[in-house]
Symmetry: C2
Subunit: 253 residues, 2 copies
């Protein structure tokens, strides 16, 4: 199976490495930023191309791993052919964005990728969608070579997965940044919170989050909530987050 990747960001980097390890032939990499394309291509033993139009005719798969709002434009530059399958990797972009092509689909990895943080791709849940059964099966086959965790998901299901992931991952990391900055302003280290954070996560492996809520808002402890809001008075953005989430926890209790 010959694969080309369009993109050289976080997702493209991790998929490229996983493809290399899976024994697939990753032949070409294109990036808007040619230098980044060259860097990634040399890392995984592929060729960097300057223009999307330079894609090899005999490539079986083209994986589009660019920012969501660039997918349609990038897809429009791929030469149309019946033999190629074009997939994108976006959680919240409909399959139909690729419908100028004949065979297309989606390969969505539900994970947070940073270029310079390595991870075991075989544990990354992959969600697959294809425009027709034959195409879908081919994408499934590719996915199974990359990961142990592969499922079908249509565009609606995938979008729910994505928005849930934004809450559980991106927004969680945002909360950690607030904690980190609050601690640093008092000369304290974020490391002090690590046992707490690990336990917060560990607990969810045996119970569901709704059954694990603790804290001042859960107890509707106005005294503490007001004390904390007062402490946060010089940081209105964080104070707003504190107020809103506390209100929501109190309401749901």
């Amino acid at each position: 199976m010959k694969v080309a990747i369009l993109g050289a960001g976080n997702v493209a980097t991790h998929i490229s490495k996983a493809l290399k390890n899976s024994g697939h032939s990753l032949v070409q990499i294109w990036s808007r930023d040619y230098k980044k394309g060259i860097a990634l291509a040399s890392e995984v033993g592929a060729s960097a191309i300057l223009n999307i139009e330079d894609l090899n005719k005999d490539v079986d798969f083209v994986i589009i791993a660019v920012t969501d709002d660039a997918i349609a434009n990038v897809a429009s530059k791929i030469p149309v052919s019946a033999s190629k399958i074009i997939v994108h990797t976006s959680g919240s972009t409909d399959l139909s964005v690729l419908n100028i092509h004949q065979n297309f689909g989606v390969l969505y990895p539900l994970q947070t990728f940073s270029k310079d943080v390595s991870l075991d791709f075989s544990k990354v849940p992959l969600f697959v969608e294809g425009i027709n059964e034959e195409t879908q099966n081919k994408i499934l086959n590719l996915a199974y070579k990359l990961s142990e965790s592969v499922e079908l998901a249509n565009s609606v299901k995938r979008q729910t997965l994505h928005v849930s992931a934004v809450f559980a991952c991106n927004f969680t990391n945002y909360l950690f940044t607030v904690s980190q900055e609050l601690l640093e302003k008092s000369g304290l280290s974020f490391d002090l919170l690590r046992p707490l954070i690990l336990e917060t996560i560990e607990k969810t492996s045996t119970k569901l989050p709704v059954d694990l809520q603790t804290g001042p808002a859960k107890r509707n402890d106005r005294l503490i909530i007001n004390k904390h809001l007062e402490m946060l008075a010089s940081y209105p953005e964080w104070q707003q987050v504190y107020r809103l989430i506390s209100q929501n926890i109190v309401k749901s209790t």
Copy 2:
């Protein structure tokens, strides 16, 4: 060292068990709810008492582990004596709440406790404060018997730790409940997010959260942000959280 505990909730339960394991003599437990006191006392081999006034005269330590707004009232019922040390376990309550007593302090465990989820108390960071050096040293000694991680922290520092913990733990768990409910409404399992959540945490062991932010808001991807806000239109509380945190991430980028 003879210890009594006032309270039978999540914190009281875990401290009682840790005391039992440390070889301290946990002699009495009082709870507002006598039945809960009896249950905990029988679990850790102590006696339950109906009234705080029934505390043994020869107890060395009285640990108050009740909700924050009940501390002052509970403390006022403890017979005043020069030989006893009274401590509370609250992150956001000032040391001075105990100042009707002679020797008092704070033993604040920075962890999330659920009664029925066991944990290794020796890894729980404990923050100690005492009204005078002698008292403080005695509380430190008790703390070192319970945990490997013991530090001094005055009331201001402890309050910063607590508010940071609310963001990193309580609010993070709230975000997980949102994810869980969004997924369940679409017939999907929260388990699908576990690899993502683990990776989100794992990353923070090598890099700081501010350097790890990813997602649509970090990229200021209006297309996806608006799509997600639209998806959340039927859940105004979640939509507000999505909008506010996304705005804050965009601003800080």
